[in-house]
Amino acid sequence: MKVIEMNFLPDVYVHCDKCNGKRYNRETLEVRFKGKSISDVLDMTINQGVEFFESIPAIVHRLRTIQEVGLGYITLGQSSTTLSGGESQRVKLATELSKRDTGMTLYILDEPTTGLHFEDIRVLLEVLNKLVDKGNTVIVIEHNMEVIKVADHIIDIGPEGGKDGGRLLCSGSPEAIISMNQSYTAKYLKEEIGI
């Protein structure tokens, strides 16, 4: 991309005529792997990338985590400014998740459902559940009932905000929680499970 300044009109972006929009110099583009230059690779979607780099575990592991959080359709070279809020958050999540887990790792997530649609939440929960199934522990701070209802263990702090809060109201499985009276979470959880 090349920027042409139009002074008091918005800048115009045109394809760079030297590299033809490939962003690399000729020598670099000559280097190929399985017949593809780096620029070709950056034009691939994550899904294609997983197939292409099948034999290279280090890369494929990273790509798989991005695929698992449901972002298989973005391209490797996609400018990060064009990602939506939810997408960029999940890329971030994928980076953290791609770090090798040991089966004894503790993950802490603060409101991971920010910007996520029901369907996205379902995908996210799958990823988190996989981690827990391997023996890891996941702690999530969350208000979203969809997440609360599938948790193994709930810790409810309250009852109110500010000085009237800060007490441990109850903890246990969702079924054990809903019998609590003074907890707001229990009240809404009952409705949610009841549906």
Binding site: P10, T28, V31, R32, K34, V41, L42, R62, G70, L71, I74, L76, G77, S80, S84, G85, G86, E87, S88, V91, K92, E96, M104, L106, Y107, L109, D110, T113, T114, F118, E119, D120, I121, N129, D133, G135, T137, V138, I139, V140, I141, E142, H143, E146, K149, V150, A151, D152, H153, I154, I155, I157, E160, G162, G165, G166, S171, S173, T185, I195
Partner: protein, 723 residues
């Protein structure tokens, strides 16, 4: 809908939008929903908001625009029916520590006005109420209190300062005053009179000696006037029989001790103004100081073993030669554990010695002994922090600092004087520490507790404060206090604060665009939030919300569903209309809303591995000394209404404990008593809450992959993989 009543977007192609046409009803609450990446934000922010913004900027002259920078024209054929647009996004407003909830909501500005105009001043010496009088009141008071008594009228000219004051005494004499009261003694002003220049003195001119008498007001008035002129608005009356003095002033003054305050102005209550800010911490309420526990982390280690952390273990460097020389002088060795070194010697190591010390010649390889001053470890750290521009050095120096409450203002950020102005017994900082709920109670029936004069001044201000507090309560922020730094708010909280200010602005015919306002809000407060959005609509505005919340969707006047999938497979409007109409369609959103599709509740829960991480006695912020058990091998959800202490427990207590344990992080956890089971996990990974996270990280992922690809490419070239 006729053309006037809707915003029509034709041919939007920004990002992944597929040349779509959308109609959004005006003066309605519209919710745009859809999968993440389906083009909701592209439509709401990158198309509609961007175009509104651009058109606004277009109205400026070309000259003005050259300063504003240019707005990109969104890729859209036509937008009609657009009104001025205000977007309320989630970007955490401001990381500046000077910005607080009070200043952002402008409530603090009203507080300042209230205290400056209607506050009562109290002396910081005696706690007595400060008074100010007109000349006429002063004369009346003197007549009343000292009637028939022998008194002196004095004009204070020097109070509690050093000097010999020969010129001053000479001046007094030349003006025709024969006596002055110097440090409580009446002295005659003879030629060349002076006092000890190294002692602290108080000097008052004796203006008049008289017996106060109701009938001779004229003499009293004349004398008071002269005294006022010489004493810069302050006079003293001395009862000659008892020796008691009493101050009277045109300014605010403590009648017993005579300290006076300047007339209060709103800026003297601002911690962001030099007139108001505490001098020690410059209005931040916090100062950073060297933490000695971090300098000497383990007193059992000797200096050679690295007992003094900034120096590290013994190296053959100048500073160790210097310490060795000190050791000779003070009688310890580098092998003595730091805890056993005498305090005096340790102070010398840390703070340096005033005198020059003799360095042994051996390490320098010269035959002459060196003499040099040793400045100490602390000085070195401070120098690194203030003078060394390199980031590494700054970071290195920072690790030995800790931030603590400013001892001068006790974290209240203001100077002594403004803190002694009170409304109903509370000073401005005490009010700012209350949470919104308590504050609202305080102002509820404040009229009953104010004097009629105060009430007359304050009525309007109190009205403004009340409405603003009301808005904060409406958006569910009852638990925030006004002195909470804006930088510590979550994205959702700062967005709701902006929402509250917008509702307060009472504009009409504006198009508000909000990005997920329900984030971080417990179910309980959600309905209140929806109500305040509806209120915004009812005052005559159009509200467009990008949202995933079920209740919000169902409460909307108009629902737009984007999809069908994300990224290049999205970017189309799959359903639009009244929520009931959208429910009938077969989109993903509709399926979830009607319950056709749902997130399944697992039939049974994982048992975990039977072991637990147990945090005991957590008491940071509002936590009430609680013990929490985290069963390992489980999916744990921490929940509770906003402000209940979830983040305090996890992000500010548990996480720092673990990071310190595993990664030697420098962040100190909040108060807790003990933690058990930390050995049952082997690392901790945190994915924090930054809603629209930074592009850097994302590009980081890709460039890391890319650079690996390059590396692979090089390998490929070397081994000549056939094309």
């Amino acid at each position: 809908m006729d053309g006037e009543n809707k915003i029509v977007v034709r041919g939007a192609r920004e990002h992944n939008l597929k040349n779509i046409n959308v109609e959004i009803p005006r003066n309605q609450l519209t919710v745009i929903t859809g999968l993440s990446g389906s083009g909701k934000s592209s439509l709401a922010f990158d198309t509609i908001y961007a175009e509104g913004q651009r058109r606004y900027i277009e109205t400026f002259s070309a000259y003005a625009r050259s300063f504003l920078g240019n707005m990109e024209r969104p890729d859209v054929d036509e937008i009609t029916g657009l009104s001025p647009v205000i977007s309320i996004e989630q970007k955490t407003t401001n990381k500046n520590p000077r910005s607080t909830v009070g200043t952002v909501t402008e409530i603090y500005d009203f507080f300042r006005l209230l205290f400056a105009r209607a506050g009562e001043a109290f002396s910081y010496n005696t706690g007595e109420k400060m008074v100010k009088y007109t000349d006429e009141q002063i004369i009346n008071l003197i007549v009343e209190k000292f009637n028939g008594k022998r008194t002196m009228i004095l004009a204070p000219v020097v109070r509690g300062r050093k000097g010999h004051y020969r010129e001053l005494f000479e001046q007094i004499r030349k003006k025709g005053f024969l006596y002055a009261r110097v440090d409580g003694e009446i002295c005659e002003m003879s030629h060349g009179y002076k006092v000890d220049r190294y002692k602290i003195h108080s000097i008052e001119m004796v203006i008049d000696k008289l017996v106060v008498d109701e009938s001779d007001r004229k003499r009293l008035r004349d004398s008071v006037n002269i005294a006022m002129k010489h004493g810069q608005g302050i006079i003293m009356i001395l009862d000659q029989q008892t020796g008691d003095t009493r101050f009277f002033s045109r300014h605010l003054m403590c009648p017993a001790t005579g300290i006076s305050y300047n007339d209060p102005a709103p800026h003297s209550f601002s911690f962001n103004s030099p007139q108001g800010a505490c001098h020690k911490c410059n209005g931040l309420g916090e100062i950073t100081e060297i933490d000695f526990e971090k300098l000497v982390p383990d007193p059992a280690l000797s200096i050679a073993q690295g007992g003094i952390a900034p120096l590290g273990p013994h190296k053959n460097t100048m500073i160790f030669w210097q310490i060795e020389a000190l050791a000779d002088k003070y009688g310890f060795t580098l092998k003595t554990p730091v805890g056993e070194i005498a305090e005096e010697s340790l102070n010398a190591i840390l703070f340096g010695t005033g005198e020059r010390i003799q360095l042994k010649n051996s390490p320098l390889g010269s035959s002459i002994d060196y003499m040099m001053t040793y400045e100490g470890v602390v000085k070195y750290i401070l120098n690194q922090k203030s003078d060394n521009p390199s980031k590494t050095a700054q970071k290195w120096a920072d690790q030995f600092h800790k931030s603590m409450k400013c001892p001068e203002c006790n974290g209240q950020r203001l100077q002594k004087e403004p803190l002694h102005f009170k409304i109903d017994g509370k000073n401005i900082s005490e009010l700012a520490q209350l949470d919104v709920c308590e504050l609202s109670d305080f102002f509820e029936d404040i009229e009953k507790r104010l004097s009629s004069r105060q009430l007359q001044i304050a009525t309007e201000v109190i009205k403004e404060i009340r409405t603003r507090l009301r808005f904060l309560i409406d958006v569910g922020l009852t638990y925030l206090s006004l002195d909470r730094p804006a930088g510590t708010l979550s994205g959702g909280e700062s967005q709701r604060i902006r929402l509250a200010t917008q509702i307060g602005s009472q504009l009409v015919n504006v198009l508000y665009i909000l990005d997920e306002p329900s984030i971080g809000l417990h179910h309980r407060d959600n309905l209140r939030l929806i109500k305040s959005l509806q209120q915004l609509r009812d005052t005559g505005n159009s509200v467009v919300v990008v949202e995933h919340d079920r209740d919000m969707m169902l409460q909307a006047d108009y629902l737009i569903d984007m999809g069908p999938m994300a990224g290049i497979h999205g970017g189309e409007v799959v359903a639009a209309g009244l929520p009931a109409e959208v429910l009938k369609s077969n989109t993903l959103t509709a399926q979830y809303l009607t319950g056709k599709k749902k997130i399944e509740i697992p039939s049974k829960h994982r048992p975990g591995n039977g072991k637990s991480l147990i945090l005991k006695g957590a008491s940071g912020n509002n936590l009430k000394n609680i013990d929490v058990e985290f069963p390992l091998g489980k999916f744990i959800c921490v929940t509770g209404v906003s402000g209940s202490g979830k983040s305090t427990l996890i992000n500010e207590t548990l996480q720092p404990i673990l990071s310190q344990y595993f990664y030697k992080s420098l962040l100190d956890p909040l108060a807790y008593i003990s933690i058990e089971g930390i050995d049952l996990i082997d690392k901790v990974v945190q994915v924090d809450q930054s809603p629209h996270s930074c592009p850097k990280l994302k590009s980081g992922v890709i460039s890391r992959d890319a650079s690996r690809l390059m590396l692979k490419g090089d390998v490929a070239k070397n081994v000549k993989v056939p094309e």
